[in-house]
Structure formats: C-alpha cells, structure tokens
Symmetry: C2
Subunit: 201 residues, 2 copies
C-alpha cells in the first residue's frame, strides 16, 4: 500500500531532479499525483517542507549506510576503500535524491538549512577522520584533511551526474574505478610536493 504522503515525495523528487526546486510548482507536483494542488497542503504544510523532508531522509539514509559499511573495519586503507564504495553506490542507486541533496540547499529556510548542514558536517567528519588516521599512519600523504575530504566526496558524487541505470557500466564497476582513483590520489607520490604533512584543519 502506497500512501499519498509517499507519492507526493516520489513525484517531487522526480520534478526537483529534472527541473529544479524553484522551477517546480505545487500544481505540477499535484498533477503528477493525480490530485488538486490544495490537497497537497493536507499532507505537507508548504513546498519548502517537502524539500526539507527529502533532504532529511536522504542524509539519514546515507549516514546509516556509511556507518553500517564501516562497522567492524579497522585497517585504515580498507576503511577508505569501503567508504568510497559505500558513498558511490548510494549516490548511484538513489541518484535523484542525492542530486537534490547536493544542489538544492538554497530553497531551505534558515532553520532547516542549519539542520541539514549540521548533518552533512557529521558525515564529512567521519571521512576526515579516516583521512587523518591514514596520514598519521603514513598511508596517505595529504596536506589538508578537510580539502581532501571535499575532493574525495565531490569526486564520488560525480558519477551521479551522468550515470544511467542499465547503461554500459554497472554500479559496482563505477565504484571500483572511483575507489582506485581516490586511493591512488590520497597515497604518497614518489615525486610528492614539498611538505607532505597532514595538519588537517
């Protein structure tokens, strides 16, 4: 049984992904659901609240996915490899939602914006911790854990921009390519630039 509350989210996700949040109207969402626009407001108090709901559940699921993947892993390179695979897979499998979560922050109220950013910071913190551990152990050679975490995350998001389900490459194949790229990119280079310390702040 599919509730109208869930249908509205599904239709909104599709429209926000294709047209963007501001370019999508409540009427369009209602049309996609087969109801009148006034009926939307029985389920959600505002258009912004629909967007916030998408952000919240996507981020919660993403965080839970990473936590589950990392549990039990202690080797630092193994943790980073697992983190990349987890992140990439989630972004490819829930392409539309993650695209929205990454690009439609500006539609949120200041309060909701703060809540979303706080959750995102927690997620990024987990990645930065792995990078710092790796640098401390000499496995990675970065100058700045924060910047490297942004680089790693943006890189792993990039598949979601062009990925087409059922296309030439499978989700796992793409995850492996990124895993290889990130691990190599983080590792110490023979011709490393001067000062390969890892302050990380």
């Amino acid at each position: 049984m599919v509730t109208m509350k869930a249908t509205i989210i599904a239709v909104a996700v599709d429209l926000f992904y294709r047209k963007g949040y501001f370019a999508t109207s409540i009427s369009e969402i209602a049309r996609g659901c087969g109801i009148q626009k006034a009926s939307i407001y029985y389920h959600y108090p505002s258009k912004e609240n629909i967007l916030y709901h998408i952000h919240e559940t996507t981020l919660d699921d993403l965080t839970a996915h990473l936590r589950r993947t990392l549990s039990g892993l202690s080797d630092v390179e193994g943790r980073m490899r697992a983190a990349v695979r987890s992140h990439v897979r989630f972004h490819l499998m829930r392409q539309k939602e993650t695209f929205i979560a990454n690009s439609e922050l500006r539609g949120l109220t200041p309060e909701h914006y703060a809540a979303v950013v706080a959750k995102r910071d927690t997620y990024e913190g987990t990645i930065q911790e792995i990078i710092r551990d790796g640098c401390a152990q000499g496995v990675f050679a970065g100058q700045d854990a924060k910047i490297l975490s942004y680089a790693m995350l943006t890189l792993c998001n990039s598949g979601a921009v062009w990925f087409k389900p059922g296309g030439r490459l499978s989700v796992d194949a793409i995850a492996r390519i990124y895993e290889q790229f990130v691990i190599q990119g983080l590792k110490a280079g023979g011709d490393g630039s001067p000062g390969s310390t890892c302050e990380g702040r």
Copy 2:
C-alpha cells in the same frame, strides 16, 4: 567606463550565484543596477538571454585559457598537470561565473542549451585526448577516458564550492593539491584492479 550592459551581467552573476537563476527576479537585478526593471529589456531581450550570455562568455574564456596553457607542451604528464592547474585557477578566479556555468543549465532554452553543451563537449574532448594519450603511452592506467575526464573535471571544480578569496589557502596552493591528487589518481597503481586497459569510449 563601465556600460550598463556590463553592470547588468555583473549584478546578475552575483545574484544567480547566491540565490540561483530561478530564485532571482528581473526586479532584483534592476534594483542592484539602480534602474527600473523595464530598463533591463532595453539591454537584453529576456532573463534567459542574460543567463545565456554568462554561459557563453564563461565557456569561451575557459576554453581560451586552456588552449593558451597547453600550447607548446608536448609531454603528456606535463600537459595534464598544466590542464589541472589551468582549470582549477580559472574556476577559483572566476568562481561565481563557473558555478553558474556548472549548475544553471536548466534555465536555458533548448537551442541555447544545445549550444552550451556543444562547447562544453569540445572542452571535455581536449581533456579526454590527454588521458587517452597518457594511457597509450603507459603513463596513466585508466579503464575509461570519458569517465576519468568527468572525474578529473568534477574534482577540479570542487574548490570553487568552498573557496574564499583571501582565505587560508592561495589559488596556487589549491591548484597544486589538485594537481598532485589527479596525477596520482590517474597513474598506474601497484595493486591495480584487473584489466587496466584504456578503451576510452
């Protein structure tokens, strides 16, 4: 002497960057220019045309910048290093415009959208050529030039998301970090995954 035509673009760039294209109104642009909204239409026929103009000049300048950087370089690793630095520097120095060029494609008419994508494809083609050359010479070890080019480009765009002029890191420092990351990521890994060929299509 600064023309009103140029002022409108400057104000629009700032607003599109901060609020997004659809969330920005003609009235706001006019207010930022100190004129009435009707006066905007003397200089540009529509809001979409302002957006298109930003896309066009940004892409043209970006392409010219890369061409200038690569001219005279023949060594494949040197070409890739130069391409990364060129791309990163341009994206940091013209942060607002490149952000718009990367995220506001959906506001364009179908015709303008096609024109912009065609130009972007040309730029990406140059990068893919370097990757294919590097793979053919055994300098890089990628499985797919197209995907690796997307990875490289998205990665090099990422600085523009958080960069603040006058902040802790200089433009050149950031360019060096990305250069190192990309070169390492593209190079053959000792534990490389199976089948390190480079089909590239």
